[in-house]
Amino acid sequence: MKGLIQAFAAILVASLGCMYLASYLNSSQGYSGSNTLTIYNWGDYIDPDLLTKFQKETGITVIYQTFDSNEAMMTKVQQGGTTFDVAVPSEYAIDKMKQENLLLPIDHDRLPNLKHIDSRFLNLSFDKDNHYSIPYFWGTVGIIYNPELTPKDLVFDSWDDLWDPRLKNNLLLVDGAREVMGFGLNSLGYSLNDRKEEHLQEALRKLQKLTPNVKAIVGDEIKMLLANEEAAAGVVWSGDASEIMDENDKLDYVIPKEGSNVWFDNMVIPRTARNLDGAYKFMNFMLDPANAAQNAEYVGYSTPNKDAIPLLPEEISSDERFYPPEELTGRLEVYDNLGKRMLSHYNELFLEFKMHRK
């Protein structure tokens, strides 16, 4: 018995010691101070130096938390046990969050730097007049390929090139129902927001013919796998593509001519926010052209800030793969909020595609 009590006491002391050490480290970092701002963002989606700069300028301590999917983020906000002051969801999630009353309206007068945003990226279908959201980054979905591993005559300017039999077992797809169903629909000339059952079934049948070429359908590992030349080509988001090309410059990125998806990640203030003042300060800070440019250079995604673009290095701002000309952007579509039922159907079709064996 004595031994037991001793062991338990030792464990208790050890855990209290750890707790003390953690709170000591916490306070030495200022994490537990009262003037804090909790930011809920995608992993590695901001230049950490900017966070330090913001803390220095305003004296507000930033707690940076990350999520890995819009849905996970929404669940947490909906649940209510959290106090996020700023979050960065994608456009379709904003529509949903708006409907479920999870967002606070944004007062534009408190964001003087909003004027730097390109008008092309304001007042979009998912949030008219930007009542609830401020653009953060935008990008596309396209094909990344390795010219050394793919046949010479394939330049992937069309989605149909993916179906080339010479790419057998050499293609990686990103694990997203909207993305995969989207290019299936696009390749048939339909909208990627199509709701017609026969079009969806047609897309599914076409996608199932792609199965022999598909090596794997993966998540974020796709970057590592493509950079390691584990496959010859892949369907990815533009931001991932820029990271992959940073690591392995043999690869190239294309937006197919049939059209594709354009997406936006936007700053919002969730209903759970505690530090509204800090949230506005932070958003305004990120809208500042110099900061936006620094962030775009670090993250590698395209910035919607028109005054930040001249501040970017020439090779970034003139890169049409990431800042496509207007005639191409005209063919890009934003994901509509399809509604839960349709989205569920998209996912089930995607599941069916995944289970289709070669």
Binding site: T75, A216, I217, E230, L343, N347, M355
Partner: protein, 266 residues
Amino acid sequence: MAVRNRNFFLVPYVLWILLFVAAPIALTLYKSFFDVDGAFTLDNYVRFFTPVYLKMTLSSFWYAFLITLFSLLIAYPAAWLLTRTKHKQLWLLLIILPTWINLLLKVYAFLGIFGTYGAVNRSLEWLGIGAQQILFTDFSFVFVSVYIFIPFMILPIFNSLEELNPSLVFAARDLGASPWTTFRRVVFPLTLDGVKAGCQAVFIPALSLFMITRLVAGNRVITLGTAIEQHFLVTQDWGMGSTIAVFLIIVMVLIMFAAGKREVRR
């Protein structure tokens, strides 16, 4: 002598069960009767019996079976040999220790090891066999799953082997039984409890594996766990996710009953 005392240990324990076992199950069951729009429906159960989900169920069971089988085949001899080593408890601990290192990291390491330019393919090339596709195949999926579950299979088998009376083995051998007969007629039946416990501890979690189906199998293998995760985290169709969960809970209870029943008969 049965002491007539009130069993006051029961109170906190039953409270825990009510709060953390019964309540979550009840909630899951409750949720399974609602569709995405929050309306009451039995549709989820109808949907479960469509080909997509039935196929998924079948393939889940098939892979779970394979994983359990290979775990058992590898774990039994390993447990047996462990009981013969000096410092056997230490070796057992050391077999369990790798589970303390984060699973995701180990899986990433496997991505590197099995990759086209990974360690395994390098050695295959060196042996003159040439590089093979290992990643994103059934083999890599079963291999990594077995890797994850093997400690949970070794543990109960090790314990039942420990409890085995060695004189029984000696007796069988003295009576002229071959090593194989001794194993088949004496050792294995006596350690059956451990084997059953191990199979249970592997089979049911294997039905609901999710992360590694994507990481190692590249979504070429879809299990019920993947579907649950999708419905809870991606489609937000909690009703359908709960329906699959209810199905798994039922399977689980059936397996537990089957394991328990045989015990009673014996």
